[in-house]
Amino acid sequence: MTEASVVSSEPPNQHGYRPFTLGGFRFERDEHFVHVQWPTGRHVAAAEPFLKALMRDVAWNFFYGTVNFDSVIGTLNHYGDVDLFAGRFNEEYRKAELDHSENFPHDEIKATFQAMLDDWVNEDFDPFAAPMETGSAYGEKSGSNAPAVTRTRVTAKRMVGLPNDEPLRSDESGYPVNRAFADVDQTEPKVEVNEGYENDVSAFNFFAYLSRSDVTWNPSVVSVCRESLLCPTTEEFILPIIHGNDRVEWFVQLSDEIIWEVEDRETGKPRAKVVMKAGDCAAMPADIRHQGYSPKRSMLLVWENNSADLPGQIARGEAPTVPVTF
């Protein structure tokens, strides 16, 4: 990734924010809004949800599949290069021929999006935080928040807590228990290890680990079984993107409740509402897009099959869009 691949004009606009250009797309922000222009149209979005969506897209490296910022703007990951689109998954925009899509190398679009976050996120605003845990995204430019917008996503190689793998969270390491999980038991399991087996005999308090997450709607990898990844996350308020699946994805609700609005991936037409309570397990098919609503901060286990072959197999009709039939 190089700074040279980011196109922005100088000086900043009257509100203090730099505009950015990526191919035929131009992005500008003011006190309240982000304005996006492309050769066949334009779009306006409130700054807060736009920046929250942009943050997830960067943090997740555009995976898996489609990241719809809203019903118009988004990205489609080809794992190496990425489409930036306007109206691509909006039936009416396509009918009106207002849709537009351009392909960019992964590093180029990521560098541009990261530069937008660096410039457009003010010092009091954390795009990963729940609404009651952050300041405002709005107003004229006021500093920056590099620690918030450059967090490294946790990706365990084998399991969190093992020697030479991702560490556990604690007060001392800067991860206090979240206000909404103050009642979560912090007792660690009793682990008795015989000499020589320190790398193989291991366990940790997974719920306590989640209770100390400082971010929302940001799955991290805690355990790996070949291509099977347990990617838990803590959720509060609204998933800032509408995630379009390129493979089957599973949700296991560990605590509390999330309501999922499910739409057709291509058209955005409503298909179902999935209400998930503690202990519920549900698949998200590979031909939908979904957005979650979590009234109270909850623990969600997202379970992924990380196989690089899956999107192609599903797109070619070689693999089904649902996990099982019965």
């Binding site: 366990a203 997974f206 719920f207 079984c225 099959n305």
Partner: protein, 165 residues
């Protein structure tokens, strides 16, 4: 300041959500509840509650003492209700092909060296390492969610456990 209560569920206290269809088939969401599944399962039965190609998450009703098992790859167990003790053993000879998928029951008592023991309760996640044996014990009915690969002892009964209408 709000006094939040985190809602977990268990064998004797769970409330299911569900799929509310607008224009779809509810079966596409393969919707079930792990505690309902475990409440209707035999002890140590490995019932798949999620499947993605060859990978599965299994709901296991832990009750009493399990047979010894051996796994060809790492498995991971989350205790989601009750308390489970995991004994781990390093077998003196290879008991399973490392390229196989899914853990299997070992007949009898495997010979080998004890590696250690994990006592895990609700919310704890334990590694069950590749090539090794493990045995589980639960004094009271408990529930485990296991991250593993579809194997010869995985039970699939989707039509019985999932929402159909």
């Amino acid at each position: 300041m709000t006094n939040y209560k985190t809602v977990f569920a268990g064998l004797d206290h769970y409330e299911k959500g569900g799929v509310e269809v607008i224009n779809d088939d509810p079966k596409n969401y393969v919707f079930s509840n792990m505690f309902e599944v475990a409440s209707q399962a035999k002890p140590w039965e490995k019932v798949a509650v999620a499947r993605n190609q060859e990978y599965v998450l299994e709901a296991i009703r832990a009750e009493g003492t399990s047979p010894w098992r051996v796994t060809p790859h790492d498995e991971f167990a989350i205790v989601v209700d009750g308390e489970v003790v995991f004994e781990l053993l390093d077998p003196e000879k290879t008991l399973i092909d490392p390229s196989a998928s899914g853990s299997i029951t070992v007949s009898g008592e495997p010979a080998g060296k004890m590696m250690g023991k994990i006592t895990a309760s609700r919310g704890h996640l334990a590694l069950l390492p590749a090539g090794k044996c493990y045995r589980m014990n639960a004094a009271k009915p408990s529930v485990i969610i296991q991250q593993t690969i579809l194997g010869p002892e995985t039970v699939e009964r989707w039509s019985q456990i999932c929402q159909k209408f």
